[in-house]
């Protein structure tokens, strides 16, 4: 086992542990913190895949901004304590479905013939190349994505804003 492999398994274990924490933690804030762990682990995976830029974006936007946003949402929608009192009634079925799903996915992966180097040769993309591609070849999708973001934000503001007359309802 090479160093890279060892690092991969470590990071993968962290990611899975984080993910399980997100879905299993009784305390909602812990769940959010586990999410940060999982997202950071995914950033590590990106580095292993030689995509440093993506890893940076992952840390900044996901682990930073989005998680903060989720924590704010938890705070705003808090009724009582932070413990989630009850797991959904259908959890046994959900366990079965999830295990079946993962089994199927892994079976598919294992039985399929994937292209690429068996010994894991990958290519590093320099930031310049990536930036050039993003702003030249992908300029139009980029602009559309920014527009989508803008519209989503405007929509979010409109939805979340207090309207006249529903303040009482909120109490």
């Amino acid at each position: 086992m090479t160093v890279a492999q060892g690092i991969f398994y470590l990071i993968a274990a962290l990611a899975v542990a984080g993910g399980l924490g997100v879905v299993l933690a009784r305390n909602t804030v812990y769940a959010a913190l586990f999410l940060i762990l999982a997202l950071l682990a995914v950033a590590g995976i990106y580095i292993l895949l030689a995509s440093e830029f993506l890893a940076l974006v992952q840390v900044l936007i996901y682990a930073g901004a989005i998680t903060v946003l989720l924590l704010f949402a938890l705070m705003l929608t808090r009724v009582g304590d932070l413990e989630e009192t009850m797991v959904g009634a259908q959890w046994p079925l959900a366990v079965v479905a999830s295990i079946l799903l993962v089994g199927l996915l892994i079976t598919t992966i294992a039985t399929s013939d994937w292209p690429g180097d068996a010994d894991g040769m990958i290519t590093r993309i320099p930031f310049e190349t990536l930036g050039e591609a993003l702003f030249r070849q992908w300029a139009v999708p980029f602009e559309i994505a920014s527009l989508v973001l803008l519209i989503a934000l405007v929509g979010a503001i409109v939805l979340a804003r207090d309207e006249e007359g529903d303040v009482e309802e909120a109490e």
């Binding site: 492999q5 993968a12 997100v22 879905v23 909602t28 769940a31 959010a32 999410l35 999982a38 997202l39 995914v42 292993l48 895949l49 030689a50 995509s51 830029f53 993506l54 996901y62 901004a65 989005i66 946003l69 989720l70 949402a73 938890l74 705003l76 009724v79 989630e84 797991v87 959904g88 959900a94 366990v95 999830s98 799903l101 993962v102 996915l105 892994i106 992966i109 294992a110 994937w114 292209p115 690429g116 010994d119 894991g120 040769m121 990958i122 290519t123 590093r124 993309i125 190349t129 591609a133 993003l134 992908w138 920014s146 973001l149 519209i151 989503a152 929509g155 979010a156 979340a160 309802e169």
Partner: protein, 108 residues
């Protein structure tokens, strides 16, 4: 563009992605709090992103389309979270709860 040898087969990344995805699915199915469901959805999105990046790195390094896609996925995820949280807030204000199994206006 330099090549890096890591001795990690592509399948490993894919399996990791599958596991993360299934964990996300389980979270979506069992969590009652809407915010936690959103978190589980984020896990699923990340799993997909790992797939994209892995395929980009292993199969078509010159085009790196997968990485571009991952960037877009992050963008969309940000938009989705913003919007979803606004909706959750709205529901919470109107019904006094963020638990999805108590919001059953679509019932018969």
């Amino acid at each position: 563009m330099e090549a890096v040898a890591q001795q990690i087969p592509l399948e490993h990344f894919l399996v990791l992605s599958a596991i993360l995805f299934s964990i996300g699915v389980y979270g979506v199915l069992t969590r009652r709090n809407a915010v936690l469901i959103i978190m589980s959805v984020e896990l699923m999105l990340n799993a997909a992103s790992i797939n994209m990046v892995a395929f980009a790195a292993y199969t078509s390094p010159a085009a790196f389309t997968g990485i571009i896609f991952a960037i877009f996925i992050i963008t969309i995820a940000a938009a989705e979270v913003g919007l979803a949280l606004a909706i959750i807030l709205r529901i919470f204000r109107n019904r006094g709860t963020a638990n999805v199994d108590e919001v059953n206006a679509l019932k018969w």
